[in-house]
Subunit: 194 residues, 2 copies
Amino acid sequence: MPRTGMSAGELRETATDVAICRMRKVGYGKLRLTDVAAEMGLSHAALYAHFSSKSDLLDAVVRRWLAEKEATLGEVAAGPGPAEARIETWALTLHRISRERALRDPEPCQAYDFASAAARPVVTAHREALRAQLAGLLGEAGFDEDGAPLMLEALRAFQHPQLVARHIEEDREPMLRRIVSTLLAGLKAGAPVA
Amino acid sequence: MPRTGMSAGELRETATDVAICRMRKVGYGKLRLTDVAAEMGLSHAALYAHFSSKSDLLDAVVRRWLAEKEATLGEVAAGPGPAEARIETWALTLHRISRERALRDPEPCQAYDFASAAARPVVTAHREALRAQLAGLLGEAGFDEDGAPLMLEALRAFQHPQLVARHIEEDREPMLRRIVSTLLAGLKAGAPVA
DNA sequence: AAAGCTACAATATACGAATTTTGTAATCTG
DNA sequence: CAGATTACAAAATTCGTATATTGTAGCTTT
Protein backbone atom coordinates (compact mmCIF):
# COMPACT_ATOMS: atom_id res chain seq x y z
CA MET A 1 0.00 0.00 0.00
CA PRO A 2 1.61 3.24 -1.09
CA ARG A 3 2.09 5.86 1.56
CA THR A 4 1.59 8.65 -0.90
CA GLY A 5 -1.88 7.33 -1.71
CA MET A 6 -0.97 7.18 -5.37
CA SER A 7 -0.67 4.29 -7.78
CA ALA A 8 2.60 3.91 -9.64
CA GLY A 9 1.06 5.48 -12.71
CA GLU A 10 -0.36 8.43 -10.80
CA LEU A 11 2.93 9.06 -9.08
CA ARG A 12 4.74 9.17 -12.40
CA GLU A 13 2.19 11.62 -13.73
CA THR A 14 2.38 13.78 -10.63
CA ALA A 15 6.17 13.81 -10.72
CA THR A 16 6.01 14.84 -14.36
CA ASP A 17 3.59 17.65 -13.49
CA VAL A 18 5.73 18.88 -10.65
CA ALA A 19 8.85 18.73 -12.82
CA ILE A 20 7.21 20.82 -15.56
CA CYS A 21 6.05 23.41 -13.04
CA ARG A 22 9.43 23.67 -11.39
CA MET A 23 11.14 23.81 -14.76
CA ARG A 24 8.95 26.74 -15.74
CA LYS A 25 9.70 28.44 -12.43
CA VAL A 26 13.43 27.88 -11.96
CA GLY A 27 14.54 27.08 -15.50
CA TYR A 28 15.57 23.94 -17.34
CA GLY A 29 19.15 24.05 -16.14
CA LYS A 30 18.26 24.41 -12.47
CA LEU A 31 15.70 21.67 -12.21
CA ARG A 32 16.76 19.40 -9.32
CA LEU A 33 15.39 15.96 -8.53
CA THR A 34 15.74 16.83 -4.86
CA ASP A 35 13.30 19.72 -5.26
CA VAL A 36 10.81 17.72 -7.30
CA ALA A 37 10.84 14.98 -4.67
CA ALA A 38 10.58 17.48 -1.79
CA GLU A 39 7.57 19.14 -3.41
CA MET A 40 5.91 15.73 -3.45
CA GLY A 41 6.88 14.98 0.12
CA LEU A 42 9.37 12.31 -0.95
CA SER A 43 13.08 11.79 -0.73
CA HIS A 44 14.78 12.06 -4.08
CA ALA A 45 15.75 8.39 -3.87
CA ALA A 46 12.08 7.43 -3.97
CA LEU A 47 11.81 8.88 -7.47
CA TYR A 48 14.25 6.26 -8.68
CA ALA A 49 11.59 3.62 -8.13
CA HIS A 50 9.60 5.33 -10.90
CA PHE A 51 12.22 6.90 -13.15
CA SER A 52 15.43 5.16 -14.07
CA SER A 53 17.35 8.46 -14.20
CA LYS A 54 16.94 12.19 -14.36
CA SER A 55 16.93 11.94 -18.16
CA ASP A 56 14.03 9.56 -17.87
CA LEU A 57 12.05 12.17 -15.95
CA LEU A 58 13.05 14.86 -18.45
CA ASP A 59 11.87 12.56 -21.24
CA ALA A 60 8.54 12.24 -19.49
CA VAL A 61 8.30 16.02 -19.30
CA VAL A 62 9.07 16.42 -22.98
CA ARG A 63 6.70 13.59 -23.91
CA ARG A 64 3.86 15.27 -22.07
CA TRP A 65 4.65 18.62 -23.62
CA LEU A 66 4.81 17.17 -27.11
CA ALA A 67 1.64 15.17 -26.55
CA GLU A 68 -0.26 18.44 -26.02
CA LYS A 69 1.10 19.72 -29.31
CA GLU A 70 0.12 16.50 -31.07
CA ALA A 71 -3.37 16.72 -29.59
CA THR A 72 -3.91 20.27 -30.88
CA LEU A 73 -2.65 19.28 -34.31
CA GLY A 74 -4.78 16.16 -34.23
CA GLU A 75 -7.87 18.31 -33.74
CA VAL A 76 -6.91 20.44 -36.73
CA ALA A 77 -6.32 17.32 -38.81
CA ALA A 78 -9.72 15.94 -37.84
CA GLY A 79 -11.44 19.30 -38.28
CA PRO A 80 -14.11 20.33 -40.78
CA GLY A 81 -13.64 21.51 -44.33
CA PRO A 82 -11.82 20.05 -47.31
CA ALA A 83 -8.75 17.97 -46.50
CA GLU A 84 -6.43 19.98 -48.72
CA ALA A 85 -7.29 23.20 -46.90
CA ARG A 86 -6.70 21.46 -43.59
CA ILE A 87 -3.16 20.63 -44.68
CA GLU A 88 -2.31 24.30 -44.83
CA THR A 89 -4.07 24.97 -41.55
CA TRP A 90 -2.21 22.07 -40.00
CA ALA A 91 1.15 23.41 -41.16
CA LEU A 92 0.30 26.91 -39.95
CA THR A 93 -0.77 25.52 -36.59
CA LEU A 94 2.45 23.56 -36.33
CA HIS A 95 4.40 26.76 -36.87
CA ARG A 96 2.23 28.84 -34.56
CA ILE A 97 2.57 26.36 -31.72
CA SER A 98 6.34 26.22 -32.15
CA ARG A 99 6.55 29.99 -32.22
CA GLU A 100 4.17 30.54 -29.35
CA ARG A 101 6.04 28.06 -27.21
CA ALA A 102 9.41 29.59 -27.99
CA LEU A 103 7.97 32.90 -26.82
CA ARG A 104 5.85 31.89 -23.86
CA ASP A 105 7.11 28.55 -22.66
CA PRO A 106 10.86 28.69 -23.21
CA GLU A 107 12.02 26.27 -20.53
CA PRO A 108 10.26 23.13 -21.70
CA CYS A 109 11.23 24.32 -25.17
CA GLN A 110 14.84 24.13 -24.12
CA ALA A 111 14.27 20.67 -22.66
CA TYR A 112 12.90 19.67 -26.05
CA ASP A 113 15.86 21.23 -27.78
CA PHE A 114 18.29 19.21 -25.66
CA ALA A 115 16.29 16.03 -26.15
CA SER A 116 16.31 16.73 -29.86
CA ALA A 117 20.07 17.32 -29.97
CA ALA A 118 20.60 14.10 -28.02
CA ALA A 119 18.38 12.26 -30.52
CA ARG A 120 16.19 10.92 -27.71
CA PRO A 121 13.54 8.36 -28.71
CA VAL A 122 10.79 10.66 -27.42
CA VAL A 123 11.70 13.09 -30.20
CA THR A 124 11.76 10.41 -32.85
CA ALA A 125 8.33 9.29 -31.68
CA HIS A 126 7.05 12.85 -31.95
CA ARG A 127 8.31 13.20 -35.49
CA GLU A 128 6.65 9.93 -36.36
CA ALA A 129 3.39 11.12 -34.83
CA LEU A 130 3.49 14.26 -36.94
CA ARG A 131 4.32 12.22 -40.02
CA ALA A 132 1.35 9.95 -39.38
CA GLN A 133 -1.04 12.88 -38.96
CA LEU A 134 0.18 14.57 -42.11
CA ALA A 135 0.16 11.30 -44.05
CA GLY A 136 -3.47 10.83 -43.03
CA LEU A 137 -4.36 14.31 -44.24
CA LEU A 138 -2.50 13.86 -47.50
CA GLY A 139 -4.23 10.54 -48.09
CA GLU A 140 -7.60 12.08 -47.36
CA ALA A 141 -6.88 14.86 -49.84
CA GLY A 142 -5.93 12.38 -52.53
CA PHE A 143 -2.16 12.72 -52.35
CA ASP A 144 0.39 9.97 -51.97
CA GLU A 145 1.15 9.56 -48.28
CA ASP A 146 4.85 9.37 -49.08
CA GLY A 147 4.67 13.11 -49.38
CA ALA A 148 4.48 13.45 -45.60
CA PRO A 149 8.17 13.03 -44.70
CA LEU A 150 9.03 15.24 -47.65
CA MET A 151 6.79 18.05 -46.44
CA LEU A 152 8.00 17.73 -42.88
CA GLU A 153 11.62 18.06 -43.97
CA ALA A 154 10.78 21.07 -46.10
CA LEU A 155 8.92 22.67 -43.18
CA ARG A 156 11.65 22.01 -40.68
CA ALA A 157 12.70 25.65 -40.57
CA PHE A 158 9.24 26.40 -39.19
CA GLN A 159 9.38 23.82 -36.42
CA HIS A 160 12.96 23.58 -35.23
CA PRO A 161 13.30 25.43 -31.91
CA GLN A 162 16.45 27.30 -32.85
CA LEU A 163 15.32 28.31 -36.31
CA VAL A 164 11.97 29.39 -34.93
CA ALA A 165 13.71 31.40 -32.22
CA ARG A 166 15.93 33.10 -34.77
CA HIS A 167 12.97 34.42 -36.74
CA ILE A 168 10.67 35.05 -33.82
CA GLU A 169 10.17 38.70 -34.80
CA GLU A 170 9.18 38.05 -38.39
CA ASP A 171 5.83 37.02 -39.77
CA ARG A 172 6.81 33.92 -41.67
CA GLU A 173 3.28 32.73 -42.32
CA PRO A 174 3.13 34.03 -45.90
CA MET A 175 6.31 32.15 -46.76
CA LEU A 176 5.01 29.04 -45.04
CA ARG A 177 1.78 29.22 -47.05
CA ARG A 178 3.74 29.57 -50.28
CA ILE A 179 5.91 26.57 -49.46
CA VAL A 180 2.93 24.42 -48.57
CA SER A 181 0.99 25.30 -51.68
CA THR A 182 4.04 24.87 -53.90
CA LEU A 183 4.71 21.45 -52.39
CA LEU A 184 1.10 20.41 -52.80
CA ALA A 185 1.12 21.62 -56.40
CA GLY A 186 4.31 19.65 -56.97
CA LEU A 187 2.88 16.52 -55.40
CA LYS A 188 -0.27 16.92 -57.44
CA ALA A 189 1.81 17.16 -60.60
CA GLY A 190 2.72 13.54 -59.97
CA ALA A 191 5.48 11.46 -58.46
CA PRO A 192 8.69 13.51 -58.59
CA VAL A 193 11.25 12.31 -61.08
CA ALA A 194 13.86 10.15 -59.35
CA MET B 1 55.72 52.88 -44.41
CA PRO B 2 54.55 49.71 -42.76
CA ARG B 3 57.10 47.77 -40.80
CA THR B 4 55.44 44.49 -41.57
CA GLY B 5 55.94 45.10 -45.27
CA MET B 6 52.25 44.61 -45.89
CA SER B 7 49.57 46.94 -47.13
CA ALA B 8 46.51 47.39 -44.98
CA GLY B 9 44.56 45.01 -47.18
CA GLU B 10 47.27 42.35 -47.13
CA LEU B 11 47.56 42.57 -43.39
CA ARG B 12 43.82 42.04 -42.99
CA GLU B 13 43.98 39.03 -45.27
CA THR B 14 46.99 37.59 -43.47
CA ALA B 15 45.38 38.09 -40.08
CA THR B 16 42.27 36.33 -41.38
CA ASP B 17 44.42 33.43 -42.64
CA VAL B 18 46.27 33.12 -39.37
CA ALA B 19 43.03 33.26 -37.41
CA ILE B 20 41.48 30.45 -39.47
CA CYS B 21 44.57 28.29 -39.02
CA ARG B 22 44.72 28.85 -35.30
CA MET B 23 40.98 28.29 -35.00
CA ARG B 24 41.37 24.93 -36.73
CA LYS B 25 44.28 24.06 -34.45
CA VAL B 26 43.10 25.23 -31.03
CA GLY B 27 39.35 25.42 -31.55
CA TYR B 28 36.88 28.25 -31.97
CA GLY B 29 36.52 28.90 -28.26
CA LYS B 30 40.25 29.17 -27.59
CA LEU B 31 41.17 31.54 -30.37
CA ARG B 32 43.04 34.50 -28.83
CA LEU B 33 43.87 37.80 -30.49
CA THR B 34 47.15 37.75 -28.61
CA ASP B 35 48.17 34.52 -30.33
CA VAL B 36 47.09 35.65 -33.78
CA ALA B 37 49.10 38.85 -33.35
CA ALA B 38 52.12 36.99 -31.96
CA GLU B 39 52.12 34.62 -34.92
CA MET B 40 52.31 37.67 -37.18
CA GLY B 41 55.05 39.26 -35.09
CA LEU B 42 52.73 42.00 -33.87
CA SER B 43 51.34 43.11 -30.57
CA HIS B 44 47.64 42.42 -30.23
CA ALA B 45 46.95 46.14 -30.08
CA ALA B 46 48.23 46.53 -33.64
CA LEU B 47 45.37 44.36 -34.85
CA TYR B 48 42.96 46.99 -33.66
CA ALA B 49 44.17 49.27 -36.43
CA HIS B 50 42.68 46.74 -38.88
CA PHE B 51 39.80 45.14 -37.01
CA SER B 52 37.43 47.08 -34.82
CA SER B 53 36.98 44.15 -32.44
CA LYS B 54 37.48 40.43 -32.09
CA SER B 55 34.01 39.92 -33.55
CA ASP B 56 35.14 41.87 -36.56
CA LEU B 57 38.03 39.45 -37.08
CA LEU B 58 35.72 36.50 -36.56
CA ASP B 59 33.37 37.98 -39.14
CA ALA B 60 36.28 38.17 -41.57
CA VAL B 61 37.03 34.51 -40.92
CA VAL B 62 33.44 33.50 -41.52
CA ARG B 63 33.19 35.72 -44.60
CA ARG B 64 36.24 34.08 -46.13
CA TRP B 65 34.95 30.63 -45.31
CA LEU B 66 31.54 31.37 -46.77
CA ALA B 67 33.08 32.98 -49.84
CA GLU B 68 34.76 29.66 -50.69
CA LYS B 69 31.38 27.96 -50.44
CA GLU B 70 29.79 30.61 -52.64
CA ALA B 71 32.56 30.22 -55.20
CA THR B 72 32.06 26.45 -55.46
CA LEU B 73 28.33 26.91 -55.80
CA GLY B 74 28.87 29.67 -58.33
CA GLU B 75 30.83 27.26 -60.52
CA VAL B 76 28.02 24.73 -60.33
CA ALA B 77 25.50 27.43 -61.23
CA ALA B 78 27.56 28.50 -64.21
CA GLY B 79 28.30 24.93 -65.26
CA PRO B 80 27.23 23.06 -68.40
CA GLY B 81 23.98 21.29 -69.07
CA PRO B 82 20.36 22.35 -68.84
CA ALA B 83 19.60 24.95 -66.18
CA GLU B 84 16.90 22.88 -64.52
CA ALA B 85 19.31 20.00 -63.95
CA ARG B 86 21.85 22.42 -62.52
CA ILE B 87 19.32 23.50 -59.90
CA GLU B 88 19.31 20.00 -58.45
CA THR B 89 23.09 19.76 -58.66
CA TRP B 90 23.35 23.14 -56.99
CA ALA B 91 21.13 22.04 -54.11
CA LEU B 92 23.03 18.78 -53.73
CA THR B 93 26.31 20.65 -53.70
CA LEU B 94 24.99 23.04 -51.09
CA HIS B 95 24.12 20.10 -48.88
CA ARG B 96 27.38 18.23 -49.56
CA ILE B 97 29.48 21.25 -48.67
CA SER B 98 27.53 21.80 -45.47
CA ARG B 99 27.88 18.15 -44.54
CA GLU B 100 31.53 17.87 -45.48
CA ARG B 101 32.36 20.95 -43.48
CA ALA B 102 30.47 19.77 -40.43
CA LEU B 103 32.56 16.59 -40.61
CA ARG B 104 35.97 17.87 -41.59
CA ASP B 105 36.10 21.53 -40.66
CA PRO B 106 34.09 21.79 -37.46
CA GLU B 107 35.74 24.84 -35.91
CA PRO B 108 34.98 27.41 -38.59
CA CYS B 109 31.61 25.69 -38.77
CA GLN B 110 31.06 26.59 -35.15
CA ALA B 111 32.17 30.16 -35.85
CA TYR B 112 29.52 30.28 -38.56
CA ASP B 113 26.96 28.81 -36.21
CA PHE B 114 27.63 31.53 -33.64
CA ALA B 115 27.59 34.24 -36.29
CA SER B 116 24.32 32.82 -37.51
CA ALA B 117 22.78 32.74 -34.03
CA ALA B 118 23.91 36.34 -33.48
CA ALA B 119 22.30 37.32 -36.80
CA ARG B 120 25.56 38.89 -38.00
CA PRO B 121 25.40 40.81 -41.29
CA VAL B 122 27.97 38.45 -42.82
CA VAL B 123 25.41 35.66 -42.53
CA THR B 124 22.63 37.75 -44.03
CA ALA B 125 24.94 38.61 -46.91
CA HIS B 126 25.68 34.92 -47.46
CA ARG B 127 22.01 34.04 -47.56
CA GLU B 128 21.48 36.84 -50.06
CA ALA B 129 24.35 35.55 -52.20
CA LEU B 130 22.80 32.09 -52.25
CA ARG B 131 19.43 33.58 -53.07
CA ALA B 132 20.90 35.51 -55.98
CA GLN B 133 22.64 32.43 -57.38
CA LEU B 134 19.52 30.33 -57.12
CA ALA B 135 17.34 33.11 -58.53
CA GLY B 136 19.67 33.28 -61.53
CA LEU B 137 19.39 29.56 -62.08
CA LEU B 138 15.62 29.60 -61.72
CA GLY B 139 15.37 32.47 -64.17
CA GLU B 140 17.59 30.66 -66.64
CA ALA B 141 15.40 27.57 -66.35
CA GLY B 142 12.27 29.57 -67.00
CA PHE B 143 10.95 29.79 -63.46
CA ASP B 144 9.89 32.86 -61.55
CA GLU B 145 12.88 34.11 -59.58
CA ASP B 146 10.63 34.62 -56.55
CA GLY B 147 10.92 30.90 -56.07
CA ALA B 148 14.47 31.29 -54.76
CA PRO B 149 13.74 32.38 -51.17
CA LEU B 150 11.01 29.76 -51.03
CA MET B 151 13.37 26.97 -52.06
CA LEU B 152 16.07 28.16 -49.70
CA GLU B 153 13.66 28.10 -46.77
CA ALA B 154 12.46 24.64 -47.72
CA LEU B 155 16.05 23.41 -47.99
CA ARG B 156 17.13 24.91 -44.71
CA ALA B 157 17.28 21.53 -43.00
CA PHE B 158 20.02 20.62 -45.46
CA GLN B 159 22.16 23.69 -44.78
CA HIS B 160 21.74 24.63 -41.16
CA PRO B 161 24.84 23.53 -39.22
CA GLN B 162 22.95 21.94 -36.36
CA LEU B 163 20.41 20.13 -38.48
CA VAL B 164 23.16 18.91 -40.78
CA ALA B 165 25.17 17.72 -37.79
CA ARG B 166 22.19 15.86 -36.40
CA HIS B 167 21.77 13.81 -39.57
CA ILE B 168 25.43 13.45 -40.42
CA GLU B 169 25.22 9.66 -40.51
CA GLU B 170 22.29 9.45 -42.89
CA ASP B 171 22.26 9.73 -46.64
CA ARG B 172 19.74 12.49 -47.08
CA GLU B 173 20.42 13.06 -50.76
CA PRO B 174 17.43 11.05 -52.00
CA MET B 175 15.12 13.14 -49.83
CA LEU B 176 16.79 16.33 -50.97
CA ARG B 177 16.29 15.33 -54.60
CA ARG B 178 12.63 14.61 -53.97
CA ILE B 179 12.10 17.97 -52.29
CA VAL B 180 13.82 19.85 -55.09
CA SER B 181 11.90 18.12 -57.84
CA THR B 182 8.62 18.50 -55.99
CA LEU B 183 9.26 22.21 -55.49
CA LEU B 184 10.20 22.67 -59.13
CA ALA B 185 7.11 20.77 -60.21
CA GLY B 186 5.06 23.00 -57.93
CA LEU B 187 6.64 26.17 -59.27
CA LYS B 188 6.11 24.96 -62.81
CA ALA B 189 2.45 24.35 -62.04
CA GLY B 190 2.15 28.12 -61.69
CA ALA B 191 2.21 30.80 -59.05
CA PRO B 192 1.09 29.24 -55.77
CA VAL B 193 -2.35 30.28 -54.62
CA ALA B 194 -2.07 33.08 -52.06
C1' DA C 1 6.99 -7.58 0.53
C1' DA C 2 5.89 -3.04 -1.10
C1' DA C 3 6.94 1.71 -0.41
C1' DG C 4 10.04 4.65 1.30
C1' DC C 5 14.11 6.37 4.00
C1' DT C 6 19.03 7.12 5.33
C1' DA C 7 23.72 6.75 4.19
C1' DC C 8 27.14 7.12 0.98
C1' DA C 9 30.24 7.35 -3.34
C1' DA C 10 30.77 9.50 -7.72
C1' DT C 11 29.78 13.29 -10.37
C1' DA C 12 28.52 17.85 -11.31
C1' DT C 13 27.78 22.54 -10.17
C1' DA C 14 28.76 26.96 -7.86
C1' DC C 15 31.84 30.17 -6.21
C1' DG C 16 35.81 33.17 -5.61
C1' DA C 17 40.75 34.34 -6.41
C1' DA C 18 44.18 34.68 -9.71
C1' DT C 19 45.21 35.12 -14.27
C1' DT C 20 44.23 36.21 -19.27
C1' DT C 21 42.26 38.56 -22.66
C1' DT C 22 40.05 42.42 -24.78
C1' DG C 23 39.87 46.96 -25.90
C1' DT C 24 41.69 52.03 -25.36
C1' DA C 25 44.94 55.64 -24.81
C1' DA C 26 49.09 57.63 -24.54
C1' DT C 27 53.68 57.16 -26.38
C1' DC C 28 57.45 55.83 -29.30
C1' DT C 29 59.92 55.36 -33.95
C1' DG C 30 61.48 55.20 -38.86
C1' DC D 1 52.77 60.97 -39.25
C1' DA D 2 51.58 56.24 -40.36
C1' DG D 3 52.56 52.18 -38.04
C1' DA D 4 53.45 50.11 -34.16
C1' DT D 5 54.47 49.66 -29.07
C1' DT D 6 53.79 49.74 -24.09
C1' DA D 7 50.77 50.58 -20.33
C1' DC D 8 46.52 50.01 -18.31
C1' DA D 9 41.37 49.33 -17.05
C1' DA D 10 37.41 46.42 -17.69
C1' DA D 11 35.71 42.08 -18.79
C1' DA D 12 36.16 37.30 -19.44
C1' DT D 13 38.28 32.96 -18.47
C1' DT D 14 40.63 29.57 -15.76
C1' DC D 15 41.45 26.92 -11.85
C1' DG D 16 41.06 25.08 -7.33
C1' DT D 17 37.90 24.02 -3.85
C1' DA D 18 33.60 23.88 -1.35
C1' DT D 19 29.05 22.52 -1.84
C1' DA D 20 25.10 20.14 -4.14
C1' DT D 21 23.18 16.68 -6.90
C1' DT D 22 22.74 12.25 -8.87
C1' DG D 23 22.49 7.58 -8.50
C1' DT D 24 23.02 3.04 -5.57
C1' DA D 25 22.64 -0.01 -1.59
C1' DG D 26 21.10 -1.49 2.34
C1' DC D 27 17.91 -0.54 6.16
C1' DT D 28 13.13 0.66 8.16
C1' DT D 29 8.34 0.74 8.43
C1' DT D 30 3.73 -0.83 7.70
